[in-house]
Amino acid sequence: MEIKFDTSVQELKYKVLKEIAKGLFNDTLLEEYNEIPQRISPGPKSTMRCCIYKERAIVLERMKLALGGNKNIDNVVEVIRIACDECPLGGYEVTNRCRGCIAHRCQKECHRDAIRFDEVTRTAVIDKTKCVNCGMCAKACQYNAIQNYLRPCVQACKVKAISMDEDHAAKIDDEKCVQCGACVYQCPFGAIMDKSMMKEAIDILKDSDYSKKYPVYAIVAPSISSQYKGVQLGQVVTALKNLGFQDVVEAALGADMVAYAEAKELEEKGFLTSSCCPTFVSFIKKNFPTLTDKISHNLSPMATIAKWIKEHHPECKIMFIGPCIAKKQEIKDERVAPYVDVTLTFEELQAMIDAKGIDIDSLEESPLDNASYYGRIFARAGGLTDAVKEALAEQSSTFPAKPISVDGLDNCRLALIKARTGKIDFNFIEGMGCVGGCIGGPACLTHEPRDKADIDAYGKLSKEQTIQDSIKYYE
């Protein structure tokens, strides 16, 4: 199977993950460790950085993160300092589109007296010692000649957690970070990376003798149905079983359970925000503390189905596989830690499948059917809202649900600001940290416009038509 990545940064990360996975599976990592940078950057000429030695040094840093990164930092997102290109800070700058007009609206809008005009060219010049980056001049210019040059990481971070350290490298404020992973995906130099739990995953698979001594379960996020375009999802399920998992279970089944419980909770409390997305939950706790008690008390779909499996098979190990970096943080939470042992991403799964030399194309299909349509559409924005409405209807509830669905942290913020005022025309907020919902997740292999349609199409293939039919034997 040919794998398609959105960017070469993702491909580079994948190559590193694959080499590490190979070394772990074959017990050869120690011997090969120092050779891996050379394998990935063979040289003699560098292709990405100033010289081949820096290129290899950065690969070495990626390898550390692929093996779990700095254990002293709790945040699962980390900056690779030497990989940061220290993009110019910029801020507002006048471009060559400035025509040196005579209206000088930019100057009149500036309350800091930061704009003067070059005597020769008559174009605007911003005095950086006075400018506070308010952006008024840019809005005033009729030629859009003033642009805001932000680092891509800073632009991606909607909680303003990224700043610069004394050497101009990116720095993450772990207190503010909500692990959405946008910076990881957006940094054009791949200088921010999520820590991998592949070592823990492979250790468990080996220790269980590939599910012979005790079962190891894979819980897959519903967005998996949009990830593998060239092959059948059933073949991916077989690949997981070949990796050593006893069974593959849809997190969507947990989503069915959550939808049902959340509908009840909404009716009891009258106002609720969803708890499925760990980034959204963390965003509320850190930025809207007064709304914390409005967060649904239900565990996420992942944790809900994992809890059921652990209670029925206390000896088992459970790994969650999804598009999400925040799920790596979620399983450290004391309410979730007893149920989920490892979180992997689709990127890491792909690396593990390829490290094992499993050719997905050649595999037979295995069935995957645990959930209803409604559980499966949790993968895209609006899915949870549809499911809660359906659950209320199935429970013959007369509660007047007025849900809104918001995706992307900017939209989440707007809805939460309204909720804080209390003057609102909605009583349920479905919040998804990523734009588009989980299919927009930072650790998806690809992001394509047809992903949403793929999710809905896969949802419709479910054997069980209603949420109730899907969950009735899981009490």
Binding site: P215, Y217, V237, Q246, D247, V248, V249, I309, H312, H313, S366, P367, L368, D369, N370, K463, D469, K472, Y473, Y474
Partner: protein, 82 residues
């Protein structure tokens, strides 16, 4: 006695929910609620075989269908709890 019915994907598609219904009805009919603990389980590793897999205490029994349900129940379960 613990009776686990596989609800993994393969058995689910082959009708494990129907088998659970049959178990519930039969347990009620024979008044065995106190003796049989009916549970679900994920894959028992016998997906290739027709019918649903169940586990009675530690023994795995494959190929359970609505057609042979009563026979399976009598042989593997009723004989041990009655």
């Amino acid at each position: 006695m613990v009776v686990e019915v596989c609800v993994g994907s393969s058995c689910h598609l082959k009708g494990s929910y129907e088998v659970i219904e049959l178990f519930k009805a039969r347990i009620a009919k024979d008044k065995l609620e106190d003796k049989i603990d009916l549970k679900g389980t994920f894959c028992l590793g016998k997906c290739g075989i027709a019918g649903v897999s169940i586990r009675v205490d530690e023994q795995i029994i494959t190929g359970v269908t609505p057609g042979n349900f009563d026979e399976v129940f009598d042989t593997y379960i009723l004989s041990k709890v009655a």
